[in-house]
Symmetry: C2
Subunit: 441 residues, 2 copies
């Protein structure tokens, strides 16, 4: 057992982020020649979780990077040699995805049955990518989909993602990235700052205030004084360690009315925000912002709409997808040598054939329908609607295309997507998808 | 923005798996000398999620490895230099945790308020570890706690973890490890095989059967024949791509009655398992095992108790913690220079002072109570009960102690823990923790 690298950091290769059955299927397919058949696999979600109205595609950028690192070196081959024959090992040694991938743009909305990714090539080269593709898209899309609901509930107030402590240490920066994509303004996670360029942010913890106490008891003023001295007047002081009203009074006493912000992390946030706002205003600190945190989800955020909150700090519910920690996307074989194939057993039917999609919008920009059609066939062009192509080329002959959107461009796409939804689509309550999807044969 | 390593793989250093506020608090504490105060931080869970009866501590081994890699090299310093002063940067450059850590053994049960980890040293050296510690323990404990309920619901039937596609690509091997710790028998995830030595397993996907079809239609027999040829008679054939009864008939026709197993992945698993068992027996395949999968959680597993199922394959619900994707543990400052400290604001009270714990058991081995007591004070020794020390030394003077349990030893500890629970403790329904906890002052 290798325990030298047990921290969760992985080797550069992503090839073992794979389920064993993909490689045993490969081994079997190599014995009868079926490994070379031309196949299309499709990523889609059968449904949206918990009556959600829309989903947000996220992770595509990370996936395309991980695809480039999907190589079997000697270290990876040594692991799979325990259950694979020599022919399969030789095949893996030379593996490099050489097929084509089309898919929805990162940041685009999706609905049940949307052909989010279409992967085409030999059975062998496509089948081994299932787990890598689904892990990344299911995780990142789950986070982005939850985040978008929070962002839309928050209106134009600022949102800080601070959930790193509530998820796997390397899922944390990916969550920060997905939250930023969906419209969050900043993250507490430093690895997300480094790796993805997400803006960093942070306030202070109760530990810092508690640290400034001794045999004579608490000394909140000393903690605030030190924080301001070190970090400047723009910092945010955490005022709820002892008594909030006293905490606010002490904060302004120490900082003066030019203090950047105060954070409330417990109690009835709506009531407290209003009390603190009144107190700050009475002290002349009319520009001091109020940051609230503590078990916020999209519903709590929405319920604070009428309260004087400036910034939401969101943790647990963000990184756990607010009740839907995985997007439930699947990777299904839909076409073999040009012929559509589909599973027929109950409850898990799939639609055969490689597909593309367009989304129809009224001249006002409000979307009304998604149409999924055979990739080979002509794109539908209904009268009176603008039809936007949803499936764009991502990989050709194994080469990742150069015109990938930046994270910021994908973030803009999410924002435009939210604006394009019919008003029912932005409701937080459970219901039908915001628009219907039509499947053309 | 660095996008060269966007796959989710991290650099060797774990130092940036950290929330920004830890470093700004450090910077502030360095300005007034409070950074050097001797502090105790404690990891505990205020409650168990969703009325669970117990939790399972997991991740300690991964954490101790990650701790050794918590170093600020030039790459990490360049990121934090954007918001930190030179003195803080110099301090981080030389950082190496030099304090002491005690904690529950990996695999031990825990309850609300259990002092799962006690971290002691200067404020500075302890405060920067919050996120790393909580990310790992919250993730792994959430998965192990859910997994243990599934294992206990499954009785002595085999369990395969196959959830990699439903979680972050690097959370997946950590989930496999946590599931194995809790009593699962194998995993589909190859990185977990490599990194943690978890036994690997796998069957086949619908894609493989669908691949063996062409202009003349489906050819399930060809798929089965190839799989058996390549992987041997012990393999498990997936029989529900088209019609299950026909699938089973074809499987035995092709393989003979010595076939290793068949898998059912859809439909009413209980009804189907019974029908398939009858059919297999009638065909003489009395030793062919039945593997079921498809949206199984602990409740579905328990409901199949009376059915002829041999192996459960569990995916989504395992890696998402079956409704509790994070364990909700917190990292709180509890003592400064020998004086207990505690937050006083509403709903998030904490108990001051560094603590140890013992768990009391009847002579039969059934546990009855947990007692949390001041670390400095004498351990309670109540009459008539065996009192087992729960807090053991893990790190001394920054050095990880050598007598760490192996993953298999921790797995045995979980198994012994489940046996030690009073019978109500194994109920799947929501309720009180299996044993009460007493806090001595």
């Amino acid at each position: 057992m290798d325990t030298s690298d047990a921290s969760g950091t992985a080797a550069a290769s992503t090839a073992l982020l794979t389920d064993q059955y993909e490689l045993t299927m490969l081994a079997a397919a190599l014995t009868d020649g079926s490994a070379d058949r031309r196949c299309s696999f499709e990523v889609f979600a059968r449904r949206l979780p918990n009556g959600r109205r829309y989903g947000v595609v996220a992770g595509t950028g990370r996936l395309l990077d991980a695809l480039a690192d999907f190589r079997f070196g000697e270290a990876e081959l040594a692991v799979v040699a325990r259950f694979l024959d020599d022919r399969t090992l030789e095949w893996l040694r030379g593996y490099r995805f050489g097929g084509d991938i089309d898919g929805y743009r990162e940041g685009d909305l999706y609905f049940p049955g949307s052909p989010i990714l279409s992967v085409r090539g030999s059975f062998a080269e496509c089948v081994v990518l299932e787990t890598l593709i689904l892990s990344i898209l299911n995780h990142d899309s789950a986070i982005a989909s939850a985040a978008a609901r929070m962002v839309s509930a928050a209106g134009d107030r600022d949102m800080i993602e601070m959930g790193s402590r509530r998820t796997h240490e390397l899922a944390a920066p990916a969550s920060s990235r997905a939250a930023y994509l969906a419209g969050f303004d900043a993250t507490s996670n430093l690895e997300a700052v480094r790796r993805f360029g997400v803006p960093g942010a942070g306030t202070s913890a109760h530990a810092f205030t508690l640290l400034h106490s001794g045999p004579d008891g608490a000394d909140e003023a000393a903690a605030f004084r030190t924080q301001i001295e070190a970090l400047g007047l723009g910092t945010t002081l955490l005022v709820d360690t002892y008594d909030i009203a006293k905490g606010v009074a002490t904060a302004i006493e120490v900082a003066g009315p030019g203090l950047g912000g105060v954070r409330i992390d417990s109690g009835d946030l709506g009531v407290l925000a209003r009390q603190v706002r009144d107190q700050l205003d009475a002290l002349g600190a009319t520009g001091t912002r109020i940051v609230v945190s503590g078990d916020l989800d999209e519903y709590a955020i929405a319920s604070l709409r009428a309260e004087p909150v400036d910034v939401y700090g969101v943790g647990t519910s963000l990184v756990t997808g607010s009740g839907a920690p995985t997007a439930g996307m699947v990777y299904k074989l839909v076409e073999v040598d040009g012929t559509p194939v589909a599973k027929r057993s109950s409850h898990k039917e799939s639609r055969g054939g490689a597909k593309s999609a367009v989304r129809l919008a009224r001249p006002t920009g409000t979307i009304v329908e998604e149409i999924v059609y055979p990739m080979a066939g002509p794109a539908p062009e209904p009268d009176g609607f603008e039809a936007r192509d949803l499936s764009v080329p991502l990989v050709r002959g194994g080469r990742v295309l150069d015109d990938r959107p930046t994270l910021r461009e994908s973030r803009d796409l999410v924002a435009r997507g939210l604006v394009s939804l019919p008003w029912e689509g932005l409701k937080l309550s459970a219901g039908e998808p915001a628009i219907p999807t039509t499947f053309l044969q």
